[in-house]
C-alpha cells in the first residue's frame, strides 16, 4: 500500500533562490509531526509546498498515491485543511459564518448552505466548545479563541490531513496547552497532523515525530528523544542548551542557556 503522503527529493523556492533542497520523507496515516528548525530554515516554505501554494522545482509530492499537483483544488480542500498565519483583524464575519465558510469546498454551483453543512459545523462547534462565541466577530476574538475558531473552520472541511503554521504563536502557556491538547485529541481520533512549531518543548511533548530543518535540508527526522540531542540542537540553533527530562512525561525538555558569563 502506498503511503499517505510522500515527498520525493523535493526542491523548491522562490525566483532566484532555492530554499528547500532535496527533501524526502514519508508520512503515515495518523502521525503527528512537528516541523522544527531555526528562523529561515525553510519550515514555512515546506508548509506552502505541502499546501500546494508553492510549486516544487523538482521532485514530487504524492498524496494518497496521486501526485499532489494533479489533484484539483477542490479535491485537495476536501482532504487537506490548513491553518495559515491569518490576519484576523481584517475579518469581520461572526464566528458562525466564518466556520461555515470551511464548507466551501463542498458547495454546489450556488453555494447554498445545506442542513448537512449546518450539522457538521454545529458538531465541530460543540467539540471545540465555541457555542458562546458563535455571534462574536472574528476580529474581536482573543488569541486563544481565535486559534480554536480557525481550527474549527479547518475541521468542517472534514480533512484527513491538517497542516498548521505556528498554531501556538503569541499564545500564553495555558492557551498553548489548550490548543495542543485539542490537536492531540484530534490526532487520537485519526487525523494526521503536520505542524510548524517554534516551541521545541511543545513539539517534544505532543508529537511522535520531529523533522528538524536547517538551511533548507532535513538534519534529523526521528522521535523527540533522538532529535532533541544537545549536540544537534546546539549546532543547528547556534546556542547553548541543556536537555532535561520532563519529570511527568519523561519527554526531553530543552532549556536554552545564555553564553554570557555567570
Amino acid at each position: 500500500m502506498a503511503d499517505f503522503l510522500e515527498l520525493k527529493n523535493v526542491t523548491a523556492g522562490y525566483k532566484n533562490k532555492i530554499v528547500l533542497h532535496d527533501i524526502s520523507f514519508n508520512v503515515e496515516k495518523q502521525e503527528f509531526i512537528a516541523l522544527i528548525g531555526p528562523n529561515g530554515a525553510g519550515k514555512t516554505t515546506l508548509f506552502r509546498v505541502l499546501l500546494g501554494i508553492l510549486a516544487v522545482k523538482s521532485g514530487e509530492i504524492i498524496f494518497q498515491g496521486k501526485r499532489l499537483e494533479t489533484l484539483s483544488l477542490l479535491y485537495r480542500a476536501q482532504h487537506i485543511a490548513s491553518l495559515p498565519q491569518i490576519y484576523a483583524s481584517n475579518i469581520h464575519f461572526n464566528v458562525g459564518e466564518f466556520i461555515l465558510l470551511g464548507r466551501f469546498p463542498y458547495g454546489d454551483r450556488f453555494h447554498r448552505i445545506t442542513s448537512e453543512d449546518k450539522k457538521i459545523s454545529d458538531r465541530v462547534i460543540e467539540i471545540l466548545e465555541l457555542q458562546k462565541l458563535k455571534t462574536v466577530k472574528v476580529n474581536e476574538l482573543s488569541g486563544g479563541d481565535l486559534q480554536r475558531v480557525l481550527i474549527a473552520q479547518a475541521l468542517v472541511q472534514e480533512p484527513e490531513l491538517l497542516l498548521l503554521d505556528e498554531p501556538t504563536a503569541h499564545l500564553d502557556i495555558g492557551h498553548q496547552i489548550e490548543i495542543m491538547d485539542i490537536l492531540y485529541n484530534l490526532n487520537q481520533e485519526g487525523l494526521t497532523i503536520i505542524t510548524v512549531l517554534h516551541d521545541l518543548n511543545l513539539a517534544s511533548e505532543y508529537c511522535q515525530r520531529l523533522i528538524l530543518l536547517n538551511n533548507g535540508r532535513i538534519i534529523k527526522d526521528d522521535t523527540p528523544c533522538e532529535v532533541l540531542d544537545y549536540k544537534i540542537i546546539e549546532e543547528v540553533y547556534n546556542t547553548w542548551v541543556v536537555i532535561k527530562e520532563n519529570p511527568y512525561t519523561h519527554k526531553p525538555f530543552v532549556l536554552p542557556v545564555s553564553r554570557r558569563k555567570f
Binding site: G52, I86, I91, H92, P105, H111, L163
Partner: protein
Amino acid sequence: MRIKLSLLILLTFITVIISLLSGSVKLTPRQVVDALLNPACSSYSMIIWQIRLPRTLIALMVGAGLALSGAILQAILCNPLAEPYTLGISGGASLGVAIFILFGSQWGFFLLPLGGWAGAIFSILIVSLLAYHKGFSTTSLILSGIIINFLFSSLVLFLFAIFKPYEIQKVLLWLMGDLSPADVKLVNIGMVIIIPAIVLSLVSFRIIDVLTLGEEKSYSLGVNVKRQRMILYLLASTIAGTCVALSGMIGFVGLLIPHMVRKFFGYAHKWVLPASIFTGAVFLTLADSLARVLIAPIELPVGVLTALIGSMFLLLVLIFGKEWRIG
C-alpha cells in the same frame, strides 16, 4: 436580514416615484401614475416616458452598478479604500472622452459615452495585464491601477493644453457627472452589459466571502485565487466602466455605499451585494432628484452633489462616530 432587504426594495420603489415627481414641470403623483399606466391618454406621458423615466432608470442602474462594483473590489482586494475609480477606470474613461472630442466629434456628441466606455475598457485591460504579470496580487492590482490613472489623467491634461476652451468645457462637464441620457438607446446598451454582470457577481457571493480571508486561506479552501480575483475584477470594473460611460464621473457612491451597507447588513456578501445594489440605486436616484430641484431651474451636476454629501457624511462619522471601522 430578509426584512431589512425587503424594506430597502420598498424604499427603492418610493424613490422611483419621488424621482419621477421631481423636475422643472410640477406634476402630482396622480398625474405621474396616470402617465405611466395610460400613456396614450395622459398629456404628460411625453415628459414621463421620454425624459424622466430614462433618467430615473439610468440613476438606478448607475447607482446600483457603482455600489456593487465598490463592494466587490473592496472585498477581493482586502482593501476598504478600494473603489472603482482608484483602479484606473476614471483616468481611462476621461482620456477616452478627451480623445473622442479631439478626433471624433464630427460623429456627434451623443456618441461621447462610447469614447468613455472604450477608454475605461482599455485601462481595465492594461491594468489586468500588468497585474497578471505579477500574479494578480492585491498590491499589484492597486498599484497598476493608480499608475495607469495618473498616466491617463496627465495625458488628459496634456490634451487640455491643445484644446479649444469650449472643448475643455465639454470634457469638464462630462467629468462632473450627468445623468441626463444623451440618447435613450444608450440606456438599453448599458442595461445589456450591466444586468448580466450584476447577476454573475451576485451568484459569486460565497467566493467573494472566501477571498476576503486572504490568499493562503482561500487557496486551501479550494479557490483558485488568481483566476477568481481576475474574473471578479474584470466583472466589477466592466460594471463601473459602463456606469462611467453612461453618466460621467460620479464619485463616492462606490466607496461610501458598501461601508454604509455593512453597518446594517454585516459582512456576508450574500447580503452585502444585493443591499449595496439597492442602497446605491436609492442614493443616486435621490441625489439626482435633489440636484434637479435644489437650485431649479438650473441643474446641479449630480457628481458634485454626491461628492459633497459623501465627504460630509464621512467627515461627520470621523468626528462623531464612536467606533468606525472602514473595512
